[in-house]
Symmetry: C2
Subunit: 348 residues, 2 copies
């Protein structure tokens, strides 16, 4: 049962995103993590239980599997839904949609991930672009990691100098650490093998007015996505104006290779591993010396930690749906609770 004055949160799915969102919600002063839903009694389930997080299962069959593995669950998802105000759905791509009826019938507000179709929720969400549109809604979809990364820089620069059009090339990581069957291991693969990729349309679920083209390849690396972004601005802007806009954003880190020695994604993650839980970097990282301005056009290279960039957005979406606070306040609270905004050694 929810603690008085706190929003009661459940998380369905306990993989890359679910584990992080459960952890992050549990750290917010205005939220209480009631429990998580897990389908298999694997190492992640055992870790949740040993951390004192109540674990629920989809149904009786899974409860029996857990029992056989020596793990006692706290009930089924229906039990959890009776205890929470908001459920964050972090199930695999496309599975979230199959749960939406259940969430609605339970009268629980629902947050979905970017792997679902936009139609799964009333609004697609990116905290620094359209927080207000989600306030009071029953459901929101946090856009995917790549889309969140694109929206971070687009909205930061758009607020400061105005953006007319975007052309972005995405160099995607092949797999997360636990995904042992994904590739490629020695190929650069068009993903998808046609242009534009779906990311342009996904950005437009949040910024419908934007002229944007995206293309993507996937490469043999696990750590971060990398984007080459070219923007046509509403007027001329100097390199410093663009850098100021990015530096002013509460979820962008501008990293200087010459000052920090960081020239690639593995160095970002290595620095984070010494300071941040799991080595997460929920900020969008922009490489300072890559920023090039030319009249009304600016281009730069940015990196997206695919495992964690949407985590603060999920936390903010909980506040938006439940009306806990306004956008500026929510971003501040989330950043403070998660230590986002400064990464010693990188943000100089």
């Amino acid at each position: 049962m929810a603690v008085r004055g706190k929003v009661a949160v459940g998380v369905n799915g306990y993989g890359t995103i679910g584990r992080r969102v459960a952890w992050a919600a549990g750290l917010q002063p205005d939220m209480e993590l009631v429990g998580v839903v897990k389908t298999k009694p694997d190492y992640a389930a055992a870790q949740a239980m040993s951390a004192g997080i109540p674990v629920y299962v989809p149904g009786e069959a899974e409860a029996e599997r857990f029992r056989k593995a020596g793990l006692e669950v706290s009930g089924t998802i229906r039990d959890l839904l009776r205890e929470v105000d908001v459920i964050v759905d972090a199930t695999p791509d496309g599975v979230g949609a199959t749960y939406s009826k259940l969430y609605r019938e339970a009268g629980v507000k629902a947050i979905f991930q970017g792997g679902e179709e936009a139609s799964v929720a009333q609004v697609s969400f990116s905290a620094l672009c359209n927080y207000d549109e989600a306030v009071g809604k029953d459901s929101a979809r946090v856009v995917s990691c790549n889309t969140t990364g694109l929206l971070r820089s687009i909205c930061a620069i758009n607020s400061a100098v105005g953006v007319r059009a975007v052309n972005a090339f995405l160099v995607r990581r092949a797999a997360d650490m636990h995904e042992v069957k994904r590739g490629p291991i020695n190929s650069v693969v068009l993903n998808p093998p046609r242009v534009p990729s779906h990311h342009a349309g996904d950005v437009r679920t949040v910024l419908p007015w934007l002229d944007i083209t995206t293309a993507a390849v996937v490469v043999p690396t696990t750590l971060m996505h990398v984007h080459y972004v070219t923007m046509k601005l509403k007027g001329n802007a100097s390199r410093e104006e663009v850098l100021d806009a990015l530096r002013s954003s509460p979820r962008v880190l501008v990293v200087s290779a010459s000052k920090s020695g960081v020239e690639g994604t593995s160095q970002i993650i290595d620095a984070a591993r010494h300071i941040r839980p799991r080595g997460d970097v929920p900020e969008l990282v922009v490489f300072e010396e890559s920023v090039l301005s030319k009249g009304d056009e600016v281009s730069f290279i940015q990196a997206v930690h695919q495992e964690s960039i949407v985590v603060p957005e999920n936390v903010d979406a909980i506040r938006a749906l439940t009306g806990l606070s306004d956008g500026e306040q929510s971003v501040k609270l989330t950043n403070y609770a998660l230590g986002i905004g400064k990464l010693p050694g990188l943000s100089l």
Copy 2:
């Protein structure tokens, strides 16, 4: 001694490029491969000897090393230079410049690679862009693999519809197969960690009038470079006009993912391995479904086989310097001798 009526060719350096250029020159009806220069008695040296190619060394010290390894060399580089009309320098980056005086003093025309400064030679060279500028010169520098790739598509599209400006993002392979100490193995590294990269300036050594920006990262793969190219054209052009321009180029392969099933670099090389010596793909590969046109702007994804794309350019440079034939004829001869232009299964 040169065979009557054939240009006598030597190759200094027998690594990634040298081995291929030696092979390619030996296949031309109007050229004779006199010998190659090698510094170490390794597997490549043994393979050259077993293929009947005379192997020379820089000096007496190396000759002694070869003797100790049981390999008898044909002489030193000074001996080779007395026998050839043209030397192709395929030594490591920057080493070529240290040989240029020797070549000049021997009265031998010299071809350098893109790892040298442009000032090493009288002209920077790309066969389908500026063959005529190299005719009769004493030295030429074949631009690097990435620059050659960029120039292939730029010059093809420029001839057909006119190019005003180019913005290209290069996703570079980390190492060739024999380079066992190069990385990264799990990182996307800005290479260089600032924009623009040197490739823009290198393209301008051949097309000084072009407005071009380039940025580059290196990724953990060995097979091919991949470029995302956006061009501002001199006027509007349809997707089909651009595709026709690319298809008409004798050294571009337009590959359809939907027709061939090829979606990435490893599939290109796998197809080539069944048909081509060493699995080489000296053509620039453009992914058909990546070509997107929008008014006077066109973008597409292309792949560059870094080990072989400059090989036909070196052969053509030999003909240009020695005045053996005009550009069109040389490209035809080279393509015919090397089987360039069609790759069954890919060029449909």
